[in-house]
Subunit: 351 residues, 2 copies
């Protein structure tokens, strides 16, 4: 049976046309996906008319748009007919199985929490970011949903990210590392030192603290951190990669010989860029909701949207939330999360 | 008058010979520096015998070594005749003007605090890391000394790093940014939101929050963060840069054409690597002490040590500590730091 995924077409920096192209690419690649696009009807129809026809595509017209700079809580309260709000409302009603959005990630999280609620036992939903490394992908969680965390939250990020990694890459016991500034358990800030004990006593395959430089070595599958640190790492990595290429280009353009050399080597550069392109990874799942949501980069192109849609379908097909529940159950530290019912009352908590 | 700098020759991953070579390079470059090398006398003499003779070089023999994995507080208490402890003891006695060490940074900080104490008004000394960016250097502080911080500490990091940047790069009002996960003052974790107000009301040239991706753009001179986040960023950047080069090399080696291209472009690669080489920056000053200490990377080569020694001399010559005192005075938030006399009782506080 086809998995039915909703696509919020309104929040992207690259415009609605690119979102629609992403949906078409997903339908071309998989015949077991059905897609509903939410957004401005006329624009969606116009964009669709430039592609071959597909039966598995639907439209839900919406009239409002939540902007990147909108305050998440106010926006989902005030903009009831926005693509993000309607998407989660209809997901709750069972109209589809998952939501994919490149829009305001705080609003996606707030709408997810409001309409779907949290998975039982999970204290805080978070965003799981996928990175390329020298050997394979690594999941970092949280990369921006929770900026002030307690050890229990980080412990749950470890569980959720492990379940996600298992499902996506067919690995029964992903290696879980705790992001810190030294390998010994006593190293790190107060939050990390307390979390270390929780993870050590859990049923996860905890390999101990990892440092920033281990992130890209590929010797760890899941990296646990709070959403402030995770988001800083995410943006630092993007910025550094851009800066390195820009400085390298600068040096190469200084001599004719180097320019010639670059021309010969440029396929290798292109291959490399493909290998580290975020678009290949297709968005970051919002884990811990009683339902499935994927947050795509605001700059997502069609390829990234396609991959986001396919990842959403995969998570549904493989029941990632059942895996999370199972891991919570087998673990000894199964908190019921009840001490943390506060559903994101502080706007500063969302990146 | 020559500035007299002490060099701890025992803590480096690359061995004592490389440290001694660094001292010789510094003496070759500057005739207003005098250097005392602390460490194993026989080894130092053997290393010196391989270089031309200089008058401005001295030896203080020490018999103990603080290892990278030693607990800082225990080590400086137990290893009284280690190069790090003797260096700060003699600095306190006025035998020289500054200490440069590539050893256990926690022990350097602990010894600095024990023998020199804090600058009046500074709540916590911290480590100021210099990064290359697309336009020029940026100072990030703290990069590892204080993992659990209060707003007042971050505020003082801003003051100290500004004074350091002014002195090193002759810029009267360095642009100070606060590392966060969104530009608006309300974005970030609780620590960052509170610090934002302190910096905004200060006499520093505060340009607001900056994000990870701004770090390498060169549009900010000083980036303020806690030592946990700063240390994660430092190691993540190192790891990512290494991973990018390694993956690129991997792609380039796959085809003959690309290999030829690389050979033609390799001078550009070398230029680029020189531009971003940490060794060009020569170590991270430990600011906030009542004296001057420079922490060099454990993997420092002779070039990095030379630059560390010259930076130390520059800080003395330009009275960086007077600049810090001055900035503290003109600022409205001049805390006297007295609420934080706790001199690093927790080992986990040091990276």
């Amino acid at each position: 049976m086809a998995v039915h995924v909703a696509l919020d077409a309104m929040g992207s920096d690259r415009g609605l046309g690119e979102m629609v192209s992403g949906a078409i690419l997903a339908l071309q690649e998989s015949d077991s996906i059905e897609i509903t696009i939410l957004g401005d009807k006329d624009q969606i129809l116009a964009a669709l008319s430039r592609h071959p026809k597909f039966e598995n595509i639907h439209i839900i017209p919406t009239t409002q748009v939540i902007a990147m700079e909108d305050s998440p809580f106010e926006a989902i309260r005030r903009k009831k007919d926005s693509s993000i709000v309607v998407a989660f409302e209809k997901l709750k009603q069972g109209k589809f199985d998952a939501v994919v959005s490149p829009g305001n990630s705080g609003a996606v999280l707030a709408a997810g929490l409001k309409y779907l609620g949290r998975l039982k036992g999970i204290s805080r939903p978070g965003i799981a970011g996928l990175y390329p490394t020298m050997k394979g992908p690594v999941v970092m969680m949280d990369v921006g949903a929770n900026v002030d965390c307690r050890p229990q939250h980080l412990y749950h990020f470890g569980i959720m990210a492990s379940a996600f990694f298992s499902v996506m890459f067919d690995k029964a016991l992903p290696r879980v590392g705790l992001l810190s500034i030294g390998e010994e358990g006593g190293k790190g800030n107060s939050l990390v030192r307390k979390t270390h004990h929780l993870l050590k006593d859990s049923s996860l395959h905890f390999i101990g603290n990892v440092e920033g430089r281990d992130t890209f070595q590929g010797d760890v599958d899941v990296i646990v951190c709070d959403g402030f640190v995770g988001n800083v790492c995410l943006k630092l990595s993007e910025g550094l990669a851009e800066a390195i290429f820009s400085m390298l280009k600068d040096e190469i353009s200084k001599t004719f010989k180097a320019k010639m050399g670059y021309l010969l080597a440029r396929d290798a550069f292109a291959q490399f860029r493909k290998r580290v392109d975020y678009a290949e990874y297709g968005g970051a799942p919002l884990l811990g909701l009683n339902g499935t949501g994927i947050i795509c980069h605001g700059r997502s192109n069609a390829l990234a949207i396609k991959n986001g849609l396919l990842v959403a379908a995969e998570l549904i097909r493989k029941n990632v939330n059942d895996h999370i529940r199972h891991l919570l159950e087998v673990s000894q530290q199964t908190g019921d999360g009840s001490e943390e019912v506060r559903p994101l009352s502080q706007p500063g908590e969302i990146a």
